[in-house]
Every structure is written in C-alpha cells, then in structure tokens.
C-alpha cells in the first residue's frame, strides 16, 4: 500500500529519462584530470544563521567540479539543547540525535522521502564525529537534534561513469556534513572543546597506463580514473584529536605507511576546512 500521507503520483511506475548513445559522445570531452594541486581542497562557502527559528543553523556550499557536475549544498539546523521527554531514562550527558536526509531532487535518481541505509549511515558517522567535540556533561537530561538536508548531492550528471562512484560521493558528503554541523553547533552556542571539521583524502589512480597511485585531498571521483581507497576524517585541530575515521577501499596490508599517509592527508584536508569554518564564525561574532 502506497504512503497515503503523501502524493504518490501515477499508479504505473515512471522511468527516469534514458539518454541515447548518439549524444553521449559529446560528454567524452569532459576533462578527467584534476584541476587543482593534489593537496588543495575545493573552495567552499559557509554561512550561519539561515534558519532563524532554530537554535543554530548553517549552510555550506562546495564549488562544483566544473564539468556538468554539481557542488555539494547542505543546510543544517540545530534544535536544542532541550529537556528530554519524561519517559526517557536519566542521562548524565546530552543526547545527540542526527538526521541526514537527501532532498528528492538532490541526486541523479529521485530519492524517496523515507530515509535509506546510506542516510542512516551518514547520520551515525556524523554523530560519532560530533560527540567527540561537544562537552556533553554540561547538559544532563537534555537532548539536541542536528538535522542536515542535502539540497544537492555531489554527483556528475553523466551516467556513464556513475557506477560504483556513489560510495566515494558519500564520503565527500559526510565531510561536508561534519563541517556544516560543527558551524551550526557553534551558532547554537553549544559548548564544544574545539570546532570539528571533516576532510577526505583518497588514493587515486589517474588516467594513463604507467601512472602510479597518488594521494589527493578532497577527491572528485570523476576527475580520476579510479579511486582505490578513501578515508574521511573528523579532526579537532587545537587538540590534535581525530573524532571519527571512516576508511573504505583496498590497500595492500603490507604497506602500513600508505595507510598513515592517507590519514595524514585527511587531517590536512580537515584543517583546511577548519580555517574556512573558523573564518566564518569569526565573521559572525565580529
């Protein structure tokens, strides 16, 4: 039975448009090389206070890759701290609840309104990243809701290369989520030990036969031939602590160096994002 609380549209299933091969040739001219140096993240725009009725809110936009792709657009609102309902058991610290939701028009395929596993996964990772930065025992018996709407996900419009790319896009989305949530928490005036920001580093194989795999920060999957492994880091710069580490991909087990290099680069990306974050917060205060 369809969801009767929403308007479901026609009974028959609708198909997303299929594009023919004839016009696909045009898209091959898309550049598959990285346009930035390997250790520079993309430009981002961060703004706090987009939702005045929330305790804190922020909006983050990361510039698009420039070849028919779309940048990441995130809106985050924080509600609370507020008292937990009476039925909940006693909690000596603040209870974080995070929700990450893609808008139906955020990705190439239209998304439903029910949260899917990817969104739940993002929510869990985000909670882990933020829990390390909030001074949780200042608010016993209370809760705070952190809600992120992904208005536009980061995916290229060209369908041809899209298979298998989504996993890496999720990682970029998570790093954006961490940064924007951190800005919103600061805007809400919730005490944190430090501002946490997200960063992604990836081991990529570039186009060309003899190219050796290299490590880049803030990867755009379509700009590289293949992404071998990626890791998303949430990092507190003043404390030099990693609050969340998410690693995905294949690395040879013999080479532990590669692993720590990847983490280091992730931390570097996170630091760069943190400068933007701190600048934005300084602007709001000053």
């Amino acid at each position: 039975m369809a969801d009767r609380r929403r308007i479901n549209g026609p009974v028959g299933t609708t198909i997303p448009p299929i594009y023919d091969d004839a016009s696909e040739k045009k898209s091959e001219g898309v550049k598959t090389t990285r346009s930035r140096p390997a250790n520079v993240i993309r430009k981002m725009y961060l703004k706090t206070g987009v939702t005045p009725s929330a305790s804190g809110s922020a909006y983050l936009e990361i510039e698009s890759s420039g070849n028919g792709g779309s940048g990441l657009k995130l809106s985050c609102s924080v509600h609370g701290p507020r008292a937990l309902p009476r039925s909940t058991p006693f909690s000596p610290h603040i209870i974080l609840s995070t929700h990450v939701k893609f808008a139906p028009f955020a990705t190439k395929q239209r998304r439903g309104y029910i949260r899917d596993p990817i969104e739940r996964d993002l929510g869990t990772h985000l909670e882990a990243a933020l829990r390390g930065s909030i001074i949780a025992d200042r608010w016993p018996k209370s809760g705070v809701d952190i809600i992120i709407s992904i208005v536009e996900g980061e995916q290229d419009r060209e369908t041809s290369k899209a298979q298998g790319i989504e996993a890496w896009d999720t990682m970029n989305a998570l790093s954006g989520c961490i940064t924007v949530a951190s800005a919103a928490l600061a805007d809400a005036g919730i005490d944190c030990v430090d501002t946490v920001a997200g960063g992604v580093a990836a081991l990529v194989q570039d186009a060309g036969d003899d190219a050796a795999p290299s490590i880049v920060v803030d990867p755009i999957p379509s700009e590289h031939e293949k992404v071998l492994a990626a890791c998303c880091i949430a990092y507190l710069p003043t404390r030099q602590e990693v609050t969340n580490l998410w690693f995905k991909g294949d690395l040879p087990a013999s080479d532990m160096d590669l692993y720590s290099q990847l983490v280091e680069k992730g931390i570097q990306a996170s630091k760069s994002a943190n400068w933007v974050l701190v600048d934005c917060l300084n602007e709001t205060v000053g």
Binding site: P10, V11, P17, D20, S23, S53, A54, S75, F105, K108
Partner: protein
C-alpha cells in the same frame, strides 16, 4: 511596552514578552497610538519582500529558491517518463484533437488529472522550525499544503499538457523512419491518413518542495516556488525508440524545450487578528463587535494567534484580474466587502511577485 516599562525589575526583553503572552503583546503593538505596527515591524497590509532565484540545482529539470522574510523554500521539478503501457485504463487519444483544439481546456485537465502527471510534495520535517523535526510521518500541515498545491495546480490548469506528451509516428512503408518529437507533430499533419502519430508516453513532473526555514505563510512561498520552478523547467527532447520499446532522450541543451506554463497565478494569504483572545466567548455577535486587524503575509507568531485565514489566488497576466481560487476558514469577520478589498491587495502582491520573478 515591554522595553520601556517603568520599573526595571519587571521589564523583560521583547522576545520574552512575545513568548510569555503573545496575544497581548501583538495587541499592544497594533494599538500603539504613535506607531501602530505588527511585532515584526510591518504595518498590517505590508507583505515581506520576496526573492526568487531559479536554476540553481543541477539534477533537477527546473528549480527555484524563494525567500520571503524568514521563510525559505526550495523547489525542484524532476521529470520522469510514464509509458502509456503502464497506465491502467488508458484511453488512446486522437492526435488531430490535440493539434487543432488547442484552447480546449476541459480535456486537458482530464489528462493531467486522470493519469496523475503532476506530483507535488512538501517536506516540512527538515528542522525548519522547532515544531518540525524529522523522523515523524508528514504532519497534518504538510499533508494539507501538498494537497492544496496539488488541487490548485489542476484547477488553475497551470501546466500545458501538450508539452508532456511524447509522440511517435510509425514509419510509412516506403519512407524512412519518421520518429518525431512533440512539437513536430503539427507539421506532419498533412500525411496523417497514412501514418497516424501515436501517443507513447507522458512526462510526469515530480515537484518536491523543501522548507529550509519556516516563518509563517508556507502556502504563498510554496506556491510561488512551484510556479517559478515550473517556469524554469526544461524538458529534454524525447522520442520513442521502436526497437528498444522505450523513450529515449537527447542530452543536448539546445533540443530542450521549455515547459508550457499558462499565466502566473499568485497566492496571497492573510489572517485576521481579533482583539479578543480566541477561545473566550467566540459567539458571532461578539466577534463582530470586537476590533480586528487583517494581517497580510503572517509570520509564525501571528499564525499561531489567528484563527481566520483567507487565501486568494489571482492572476493578472491577462487584461483583467482573474480570481483563481478563494479559500477562507476559521471565522466570520471577512465578508463580501472585505473580500473584494482583499482581492485588490492580492493584485498588489501579484505585481510584487511578477517583479521578483523577472
């Protein structure tokens, strides 16, 4: 007034007063002898300025961001193909009918509505205001708004169904394949005896609205966003591929056609604020005697204090103003004369929106 209370120990800030006793707070503001205005600084008949920004989303066929004051809504229109084969109880239509009787609206509306080609949905649970938190099913408000948008889209006949049809002309025996697009249908009309174009599929428009920030008057903002996004919508050129038995689209930007949108209906909402707090003796006679203010484009505080709401949808794009819809509920203050006057106010609002959507 709150801020200028004589005894300092008893003075609260304005937001505190607004929270503690909202009704007297708004009433005091409105009856202020020197500067009568609402708590948000507007005079009763003043709407918030409207900002419209279109085509900012890459994955949607059309999109708009509308901001009025602190209400911000994002709308994305997404087109998907519905093959006629998967429409239950599909009635094939005569192609000639479509091309000649362009002005016949009565059948158009059937098509859009029978096959449910427009699918508007509103998502409020984005934390856009403290009462809308995610993880719950759509609230009554979200459901009502979606349904109102849905019925208004159909009753205003905003979308031209011609642009949503995907035609196919079967090839003649001797000639080469004559697959053609929607707008070419007219030219090929002459040799209609031999090959009749067949309707193979429809475009379905998923219109999704997401509130980023909520501060009252969601319907006006949502409707403006829907209209702006629809006017921004471009559909890729689509043709029926008989070999694959599927609709195939072209990726080229030039071949995209703008969606046919008729007119520019604009919604204008106001609430009626009564001097007496509602709940206490709301007999009709008492209400008439009590003073009232009509507050245009109410914010969240005002919405929570007012029962009677009126929404008028007008379209002034023709020579004369057309009232497309009137909705009123919750009270008896607005009668015939007030309604007439309010249509005038709505006309003013229409011009503002028109200006903003340029």
């Amino acid at each position: 007034m709150a801020a200028t209370a004589p005894v300092p120990s008893l003075s609260f800030s304005r937001p505190t007063f607004a929270k503690l006793s909202p009704h007297p707070y708004l009433l005091t503001n409105l009856t202020d002898p020197e500067n009568p205005c609402r708590t948000n600084g507007r005079v009763p008949h003043e709407a918030r300025p409207i900002h419209i920004h279109t085509s900012s989303l890459a994955h949607a066929n059309g999109s708009a961001l509308v901001r009025t004051g602190d209400t911000t809504v994002v709308c994305g229109v997404r087109a998907e193909i519905l093959p006629v084969a998967s429409i239950p109880q599909y009635r094939p239509r005569e192609p000639t009918y479509n091309d000649e009787n362009t002005g016949d609206d009565s059948t158009d509306v059937d098509e859009l509505k029978d096959y449910d080609l427009l699918v508007p949905n509103i998502e409020l649970a984005t934390g856009c205001a403290p009462q809308f938190l995610p993880g719950v099913p759509p609230t009554t408000l979200a459901q009502t708004l979606s349904t109102r948008i849905y019925s208004l889209l159909h009753s205003c006949k905003v979308v031209d169904p011609k642009g949503l049809r995907v035609w196919y002309t079967p090839p003649k025996e001797t000639k080469e394949e004559g697959a053609m697009e929607v707008d070419e249908a007219q030219e090929e009309e002459e040799d209609e005896e031999e090959t009749k174009p067949e309707l193979k599929a429809y475009w379905v428009l998923y219109i999704d609205l997401l509130f980023v920030s909520f501060d009252g008057n969601p319907f006006d903002a949502a409707w403006t966003a829907v209209m702006a996004a629809l006017r921004d919508t471009k559909l890729p050129a689509a043709r029926w591929d008989p070999d694959r038995e599927a609709v195939v689209c072209s990726r080229s930007e030039e071949a995209k056609t703008a969606l046919g949108v008729r007119g520019l209906p604009v919604a204008c909402t106001a609430t009626v604020f009564l001097e007496k707090e509602h709940g206490e003796d709301s007999g009709t006679s008492a209400e008439r005697k009590s003073r009232h203010w009509i507050l245009l484009d109410p914010d969240r505080l005002e919405e929570s204090l007012c029962k009677e709401t009126v929404t008028v949808v007008v379209d002034c794009s023709g020579e004369e103003t057309k009232v497309k819809s009137i909705e009123k509920h919750g009270g008896t203050v607005i009668g015939r004369e007030l309604m007439r006057g309010f249509v005038g106010v709505a006309e003013g609002r229409w011009r503002e929106v028109k200006e903003a959507s340029k």
